[in-house]
């Protein structure tokens, strides 16, 4: 059940690589389906989510949208798709989110700016060079900012990918063949351990999303560690009610067998006569 995480620079033919790969291997190609679920959970318009991801949202729109929720719900979607398997996930931070799973290859498709401009102008049937250059710049900047803000990594850094393909030098078909070869290598064969790793990550994302969706726990910011259905909650919360609510919400999540609540409450651990002012 292969899972492939990809990202691309706009206009670098990454879309074509993903489509051909999905067709040849009989995989589902996911790009915009993620938006539907995320928009539903955030009670926002799909177009707004798309605009934010593509860096086209206005300043007010950007400020009014809860980026944290967006990141949490997106991560949950990506992990759920990976769990189902047989899928090529393009974008959505999948290359970073799924990097921890050994059997999932993370691939980047890129090309020099001038080459991408040429292709994109041909695709859009336009000769407005400035418009296309601006569009590419904005897309690149949005992706760089997004990856930096969400994961603290540099979008184009080759070290976070298993394979970087430059479509200026390689044809779409060659890229697909390279990825298929990579999939056959022993490093990318699914093992019980790597499957368990993916399940744990998916469960962590599911719990995080459930906490965000519950009004009693939407404001807490904690570490969640899942291990084979056992979920550990670590960190600090404001009130005891949040601590209790977090455990209750985590227990109700599908796939959670037990919750080890190690949350600490941000309150006084002992009494002081001189408390409150000094």
């Amino acid at each position: 059940m292969p899972v492939i995480a990809m990202n691309q620079e706009m206009g670098s033919k990454g879309k074509d690589v993903a489509a051909l790969l999905a067709q040849q291997l009989g995989l589902t190609l996911v790009r915009h389906e993620v938006v539907d679920h995320v928009a539903e959970k955030m009670r926002a318009k799909k177009s707004l989510i798309r605009r934010i991801m593509e860096g086209k949202a206005g300043i007010i729109e950007g400020m009014a949208t809860d980026k944290k929720s967006l990141a949490i719900y997106t991560a949950e979607e990506v992990f759920e798709l990976a769990l189902k398997g047989n899928v090529v996930i393009r974008g959505w931070g999948a290359t970073y989110l799924l990097r921890a799973v050994p059997h999932i290859p993370c691939i980047r498709v890129c090309a020099p700016l001038e080459v991408r401009m040429k292709w994109l102008m041909a695709q859009l049937e336009t000769d407005d060079e400035e418009l296309v250059r601006e569009e590419l710049r904005r897309s690149d900047a949005a992706h760089i900012a997004n990856m930096q803000q969400r994961f603290g990594v540099t979008w184009g850094d080759p070290l976070i990918y298993d394979m970087v393909l430059n479509t200026e030098r390689l044809s779409v078909e060659t890229c697909v063949e390279e990825i298929k070869l990579l999939l056959q290598r022993p490093e990318f064969q699914e093992t019980p351990q790597s499957r368990a790793k993916l399940q744990n990550l998916a469960l962590e994302a599911r719990v995080r999303s459930a906490l965000k969706s519950d009004p009693d726990t939407d404001d807490i910011n904690i570490t969640i560690e899942a291990d084979n259905g056992h979920v550990k909650l670590l960190g600090i919360v404001l009130h005891d009610s949040e601590r209790v609510a977090a455990e209750k919400t985590a227990r109700a999540v599908a796939g959670v067998a037990a919750v080890d609540n190690q949350l600490k409450v941000m309150s006084r651990s002992r009494l002081f006569t001189s408390e409150k002012y000094d």
Binding site: A39, E40, R43, A44, K45, K46, G152, N221, I222, T223, L234, G235, I236, L238, L263, K264, M266, R268, S269, R270, L271, F272, T273, S274, E275, K276, Y277, D278
Partner: protein
């Protein structure tokens, strides 16, 4: 520039061998006070105040203020090594400090805590250096109505900014006013609330109240809790760890500056170090990239509360120096010291006793440097204090408290008052009534009353004197806003909640 030359003169005052020794002694005593649960900055200084009666005021204030810095530093040691905050403002330090110690990174945690404390204090002292003379110059224009409005603002801020129920804060404050009124009326010479008892003629000395409320009350609480000390780690700090931690700390510059500013703000207004440390921790958790890991042993989770607590503790002295209004119980005790040494706290100090004021400000700089060196080198010694069983420490503290209370006026009756106040402190704590408003009302009650009566004499009983010019008017208005802030904020919350609901209904969902 004038401030700088005055400050350098202050350094010259502090750096005499005698004052330098007193500074070191003060820091060491302060750290011990900070480490011991049952002794806090306020009552520690109150107990040791009698030691300074025979000194010259500058040496005395240098020693006492260094005791305070030491106490601010010391609170962190027990928080990190034992998960027992020595002081209320160190509670937030336990959240990440103790887990770090459990991971065997106590040295790192302690270094981060001390360095952050130092940084917070430094920011606050720099602010004091440049702001205090300005505030004092400004305050020279003050008449009785202005002073009363500032007192009113102080009292109202307690109500508005207090965490507990406003009713309880006001009750505590009213009791303080009642206690402050006991004795001879300074204007008419009449006896008030003495009930024919001659011991009550001189009223209650607030130092005795502080020693009782904070010292004895704390001991009673600790007895009830049955403290057990279990160290998570040996508190040895080797120089290599210190340097490694220092190399890491610049990463958290934003957290440190934010914490310092929160601390300064809550220190200058009567918020205090404890709320400042909690607020700074909360803000850092919200804004940090690793906010989800807070509480599991993050250095940033130590930097935030420590910078804020130290900045608040230090900047609480600004209103005391420039206006004669203490921003915290500890500042109130220092103010009591000033009165005992025959100084009149307030804006005139800068003019009449420039040596004293700038000596104090210079001592803030040097005292913190000395404090940092002392704590970094002697942590194991201070941590060892906690190995002494509480059954031995408690009686010693009670005896020290009793001696301190007796020496205030050489009156045996003060020891009884102290014990009574100790029980009041204990009961207040059990019922969750705050003590600080009571202490500040005992300290400021007299002065507020005098300022009010003088204002009324000048205006022939017309209350509008409190709005007679823009300055007094704006302070009085601000005071009233503060007083009703709990109600105002409730109203605002309701309004906001209403808005959010309507928005949710209007939001289109595809």
């Amino acid at each position: 520039m004038e401030e700088l030359s005055a400050l350098f003169h202050g350094f010259a005052v502090v750096l005499t061998p005698q004052n330098f020794m007193l500074m070191l002694l003060g820091v060491v005593l302060g750290v011990i006070i900070g480490v011991l649960p049952g002794l806090g900055g306020a009552n520690g200084i109150a107990i040791l105040l009698p030691l300074t009666f025979s000194m010259d005021p500058t040496s005395a204030i240098i020693m006492l203020s260094c005791i305070y810095w030491g106490a601010l530093f010391g609170g962190a040691i027990t928080s990190i090594l034992f998960n027992i905050p020595g002081e209320p403002w160190s509670v937030a330090t336990t959240f990440d400090g103790y887990p770090l110690a459990q991971q065997g990174r106590a040295g790192e945690a302690l270094t981060a805590a001390f360095t952050s404390s130092f940084f917070g204090a430094l920011v606050a002292v720099i602010i004091i250096t440049f702001l205090a003379p300005l505030v004092a110059d400004f305050a020279l224009e003050f008449g009785p109505p202005e002073f009363f409005s500032v007192y009113l603002l102080t009292f109202c801020s307690f109500v508005g900014m207090g965490k507990g129920s406003p009713f309880k804060i006001i009750t505590s404050m009213m009791l303080g006013f009642a206690l402050a009124a006991v004795g001879i009326d300074t204007v008419t010479g009449q006896l008030r609330l003495t009930f024919g008892i001659s011991e009550l003629l001189k009223g209650f000395d607030f130092l005795v109240a502080v020693i009782g409320l904070f010292g004895i009350g704390e001991i009673l609480l600790t007895m009830e809790e049955g403290l057990e000390f279990r160290a998570a780690a040996q508190g040895k700090i080797n120089p290599k760890v210190v340097l490694q931690t220092w190399a890491q700390l610049p990463k958290y510059w934003a957290t440190a500056i934010r914490g310092s500013l929160i601390g300064c703000w809550l220190g200058i207004t009567p918020g205090g170090a404890t709320p400042a440390s909690f607020m700074s921790y909360g803000v850092a958790k919200r804004m940090s990239k690793d906010g989800d890991k807070f509480g599991t042993g993050q250095i940033e989770g130590i930097v935030a509360p420590e910078t804020a607590a130290h900045a608040a503790g230090t900047s609480a002295l600004l209103p005391m120096i420039s206006l004669g209004i203490p921003g915290s119980p500890t500042a109130a005790v220092l103010l009591g010291g000033l009165l005992i040494w025959g100084l009149q706290p307030g804006p005139l100090l800068f003019v009449e006793k420039a040596d004293f004021v700038w000596g104090l400000i210079a001592a803030m700089y040097l005292g913190n440097v000395a404090g940092l060196i002392v704590v970094l080198t002697c942590v194991p010694l201070f941590a060892a204090i906690l190995r002494i069983p509480f059954a031995v420490i408690a009686p010693v503290i009670i005896v020290i408290c009793a001696v301190g209370a007796y020496t205030v006026a050489n009156a045996q009756v003060d020891i009884w008052y102290m014990i009574a106040f100790g029980f009041i402190g204990y009961v207040f704590k059990k019922l969750d009534y705050p003590l600080a408003p009571l202490v500040l009302a005992i300290v400021l009650g007299d002065r507020a009353e005098d300022a009010f009566r003088q204002s009324m004499l000048v205006s022939q009983g017309d209350l509008t004197v409190l709005w007679s010019n823009w300055l007094v008017g704006s302070i009085s208005t601000l005071a009233l806003i503060m007083l009703f802030w709990p109600l105002i904020s409730k109203g605002l919350k309701k309004l906001r909640a209403g808005k959010i609901d309507t928005l949710q209904e209007q939001r289109p969902v595809e």
